[in-house]
């Protein structure tokens, strides 16, 4: 099963796994990852894999670096 690096930003920081790493089942995509983490729908506004914007259906691979962002709007 792939081991990924995960960083949840800003208000999502509480969902960060210990040491920033987690193991996901084979064929897990980003939508599945968000569900696994228990993040309420709609709270993730941006998803990045290996520094590039990604869609919900992107399947995760060994060593992927995933970033999840909430909307940030303060000024």
């Amino acid at each position: 099963m792939p081991v990924i690096t995960l960083k949840c930003y800003a208000t999502l920081a509480a969902y960060n796994p210990p040491k920033g790493e987690m193991t996901v089942p084979e064929s897990t995509n980003l939508a599945g990852l968000v569900e696994m983490l228990g993040i309420p729908p709609g709270e993730v506004k941006l998803m990045f894999v290996n520094g590039r914007g990604a869609r919900q259906d992107q399947v995760l691979s060994e060593g992927d670096r995933v970033g999840l962002f909430p909307p940030v709007g303060g000024g």
């Binding site: 208000t11 914007g53 909430p70 909307p71 709007g73 303060g74 000024g75």
Partner: protein, 388 residues
């Protein structure tokens, strides 16, 4: 050919001396800066460093948009304003401070809230816009207006310890809508007032925005087009992620479906789905009704879910209110009596509405929201309470 300093007076030659020696600026670049017209939307946490640094750098014309007045709680981060400006319009306060920073800058005051009706007209006179706003409708509005007029939009946003910076220049890269296709549901994203923001954070992010604006004016370096810079103040780290342009973007895509401004409050869900305090299905009580209940034979349990510092500013303790901050509620549920009606209040009634919903979802039926919160109570029942 000898450098041409003819466009600068003696004072300016000294003032901009450190720019003149930079190869990327020099007299030609400084002349471009002097001829630049930059619109700063919001004279708050981000707008403060943006306006101050652009003014100090010699941007010839700075437009400042804001409709608010200076509040004491602004001064922890909004360095454009001082204690003597409390209660004044932010635009007037900003104008005075900018002119003090650099009298060679022309400041154009736009004392207004940017809307679909005025945005294109306001933006028309400027080369680019810098976003220091604090709400999503204004961000979408400014993005769309900039796309429609083909002008770069320097984006910045802050939350607690984290900030974002990017440059949206739709001819070359993505726009804000490519990044955030749909606005977040109303009330989901806490404001700076609710979530907090470290005072220096907008200083860092706004200064980066000012730098990007100057680079765009100068045509120097690589602007943050197609890249999002994420600053984490706790880790003190900067990360960059690459942003793809969405070819199906309704505003900047290959075949745009939106070619004019729309109603951005509506787009962000602020009208069709009213904010919690106005929802018809939310049990609410007006301040006057609460006063009568509290004076009656079976007064309700009065629950204050604000933060402790807010309680210190003013509270309804003399009416029997008990403070349980929203974040501690789950742990302290046992302190809420089940046999008495409960009235929940916060600052203006938004956080307390969420608490009322949560308590009702847990089976507590006799729970009401104080409509308009602490501020409405202060307005309608007890004017002696301090406002904030």
């Amino acid at each position: 050919m000898a450098p041409d300093f003819s466009g600068f007076g003696r004072q300016e030659l000294v003032r901009y001396a450190r720019h003149f020696v930079l190869p990327e600026v020099g007299p030609e670049g400084q002349a471009r800066v002097k001829g630049a017209r930059v619109l700063v939307v919001g004279a708050g946490g981000l707008g403060s460093p943006v306006a101050l640094y652009l003014a100090a750098a010699g941007v010839g014309t700075l437009g400042i948009v804001d409709h608010d007045v200076v509040d004491l709680s602004n001064l922890q981060r909004q360095v454009l304003h001082g204690t003597s400006s409390l209660g004044r319009s932010k635009v007037a306060s900003a104008r005075e401070r900018i002119r003090e920073a650099n009298p060679h800058v022309e400041v154009v005051s736009h004392q207004l809230r940017l809307t679909s009706a005025n945005a294109l007209e306001v933006l028309e006179g400027y080369d680019l816009a810098v976003d220091g706003s604090d709400n999503f409708p204004t961000r979408y509005l400014l993005n769309d207006a900039c796309v429609l007029q083909g002008k770069p939009y320097v984006y910045g946003a802050v939350d607690r310890w984290e900030g974002h910076v990017s440059v949206f220049a739709a001819q070359e890269g993505p726009c804000y809508r490519c990044l955030f296709r749909e606005p977040p549901p109303p009330g989901m994203v806490p404001t700076c007032a609710e979530a907090g923001v470290l005072g220096t954070l907008p200083g860092v992010v706004g200064t980066l925005q000012a730098m990007e604006a100057l680079k765009l004016v100068l045509g120097a370096g690589d602007p943050l087009v197609g890249r999002l810079l994420v600053f984490d103040g706790l880790a003190l780290s900067f990360r960059q992620v690459h942003l793809p342009r969405n070819r199906e973007c309704p505003v900047c895509g290959d075949e745009p479906t939106q070619t004019a401004l729309v109603d951005y409050d509506l787009f962000c869900g602020l009208e069709p789905e009213p904010s919690p305090p106005e929802r018809e299905d939310l049990p609410q009580i007006a301040p006057g009704e609460l006063r009568e209940l509290l004076a009656g034979p079976s007064p309700p349990f009065l629950l204050d879910v604000r933060e402790p510092y807010e309680w210190e500013i003013g509270n309804l303790g003399d009416q029997g209110a008990v403070l349980i901050p929203m974040g501690e509620l789950q742990r302290r549920m046992g302190e809420i009596p089940r046999q008495r009606p409960v009235v929940v209040y916060c600052h203006v009634g938004v956080r307390s509405a969420l608490v009322v919903e949560a308590l009702r979802a847990q089976g507590m039926d006799g729970v009401w929201n104080l409509r308009g919160g602490y501020l409405a109570w202060a307005d309608e029942v007890d004017p002696s309470l301090p406002r904030y």
